[in-house]
Amino acid sequence: MCGIAGVARRGSEVVSVDTLARMAAAIRHRGPDGYGFAVNGRVGLAHVRLSIVDLVTGAQPLANEDGRYIITYNGEVYNWRDLRRELEARGHVFRTLCDTEVLVHGYEEWGVSLLNRLNGQFAFAIHDRADDSVFLARDRFGVRPLFYSLQHGNLYFGSEIKALLASGEIEAAADPRGLDEVFTFWAARPPRTPFRDVSALEPGTYGRWRDGGLWLGRYYELDYPEAGEEHVDALQQLDALLCSGVDFRMRADVPVGGYLSGGLDSSITCALAARSSPYTLRTFSVTFDDPRFDESTYQKEVAAAVGSQHAIQPIDASAIAAAFPDVIRHAESPLVRTAPVPMYLLARLVRDAGVKVVLTGEGSDELFLGYDLFKEVAVRRFCLRRPQSTARGRLFDRLYPYLMQGNRGGEFWRRFFLNAGSMSDPLFSHLPRFQLTARIKDFYTDGFREALDGAIPLQELRSLLPVRFYGWSPLNRAAYLEMVTLLSPYLLSAQGDRMSMAHGVEGRYPFLDHRLFELASALPTGSRLRGLREKEILRRWASRVLPPRIGNRRKQPYRAPDAPSFFGAGAPAYVAEMLDPATISRIGVFSAPAVAGLVRRCRNGQAAGFRENQALVAILSTHLWYSEFLEQARTATPLDVRGADVLLHEAESASLMIA
């Protein structure tokens, strides 16, 4: 796991290694173990390395036998040994023991179709020196990030946007539509980002740049070919893929640990990891002093059951507030939740424990319909078929018991869900969330509204849905929307990659093995959500490896303390500065009088609902984001080129070509 960056120029101007050294420095946190550069005329590649596989010869950038193809790569390909054998049989000669080299030879052999052969999480760039083209690719579900910008035909790319900005050749500016998507979906939807002229390569796609043009293509499509009945072998297939998915992800030349929330998914990954680990498994959890969020009882129970050496990261409100600016710097986006902060602090604990790789349970809720949102869809549809029935509406009380105010006001909750939208709307499943999140827009200035020029994120999303979407069941439509609007753009980035890689820790996701996705998406929805029991088939399987209390435990949503964290006697000084009327007016996204009203209510402890909590987090994070990226123009000290592990340049690459 690492960080990558690069530049490809349309004209004849060569790429300076100093430019690459600045870009690499901006993402050095992703790769503290080494770095390297490849400079070949008008194309330059940079790499910062987190050593996990082939600690001795795995440095990058790396070339194929004749020096024609040069790669900079971030990620893991778990089936690389099989691919290597196949490539060796076809005459390719390998010099290292790492998966990187499989990509470079595989691209040479198979071209774009290499991507369909890979099982892993990756983002990489390959420079083909024969025609000076650059090939960019990203894994199927967007575990690893890859951003790019095309400026007058020049291509800039990197694992993080800060690498692009560090080139000094891209102006940091806000994209109002990108911000508006954050305040609708929780994150901008790829390819859009909150930055103007900076795009995210979409999961499951690739790009090929040549002579100033960039052509994009898709190699993987999410699909839900739902079966009418559960196949008699389904449980066996699930068993095989869960075990294989974890075994694959335990492969590393360093110890692999596990995140343990205490819920079903991470308990499964940790139980399987403990079985296949050659060491005592290290597990890591966040605990909260607020009992509404804390799951430590379950975490201890699982840790004892799997025999792991367990460590905890306690989180309180002051920790949230203190780390929030760092989290925004790494997330590179405003946020509407503080939930990434505990993940950031947890990764620091993991790094300090000397562990570089952790397995997580992310992805299971999307595959096996674990989120309350899916039950909500089922209940809303059930209620809307007989809107006059009060008994049906009471199902919402069972669904969200923690939201009920001492059992008062249930009718209002029910009305909120039932009025959210029509069953004929393709976004039906997500309208309550999207509409609730969009209340942040009540705080916009008129000027910012005008800058949006009438763009409506929900309309755009509707217009981009694939035709096959309309052939899926309502729950599979919901699962798809969850994958494309939240999993990749938010959970795997702001709450995943960015938080762990901030500390040089690689997250691995057994549930996001594409073979498992394809198994789950072909199951009848009743095998995943039966009545209001989520992850039905997974629970059936989990009884083999987990204590019954964990295997049958109802999902607890992961939440963290929010708006109140930023007020009170111990509030950090930046909060007042970022919410100051002068700051608000200078940035111009949110209305100063409106924010003043919100701040007053927060200070008085009156902002108790989702609406105001998310607005406060959104406003504060937007101002931190502006300050960090648009106003300060922070520059990292360039990496010392003389200290590079690899420096491929024209002459060396040429000699490789001759050899």
């Binding site: 006001g409 009305r415 909120f416 009540d442 209510r601 609406r611």
Partner: protein
């Protein structure tokens, strides 16, 4: 103490404007505007409104009275408060 419906409505309007419409100063709140459907108050906010009227007007709402019929517009809340008060005075 004899608060008129007009005064009750005015105090509730002020409360809702100050606490739920501070970010939308141009919003024209009609007496019969449905508070939830127009996105003025969310379901959590209804409980805040309830707490306000209980403290401000000294009325108590039973659980089965926390309904849209009683709480979903200025007019509805005014009727509810007024009715509770006259009921308690009559008693």
């Amino acid at each position: 103490m004899n608060t008129t419906d007009t005064e009750i409505r005015s105090r509730i309007r002020s409360y809702i404007t100050e606490n739920f419409l501070y970010m939308r100063p141009d919003f024209a709140l009609g007496d019969d505007d449905p508070l939830l459907e127009r996105g003025i108050v969310d379901s959590m906010g209804v409980m805040e409104v309830l707490q306000f009227i209980e403290e401000e007007f000294g009325v108590q709402a039973a659980d089965d009275e926390i309904t849209e019929e009683n709480l979903n517009s200025l007019d509805a809340i005014t009727r509810f408060v007024s009715g509770k008060r006259s009921h308690s005075y009559a008693a």
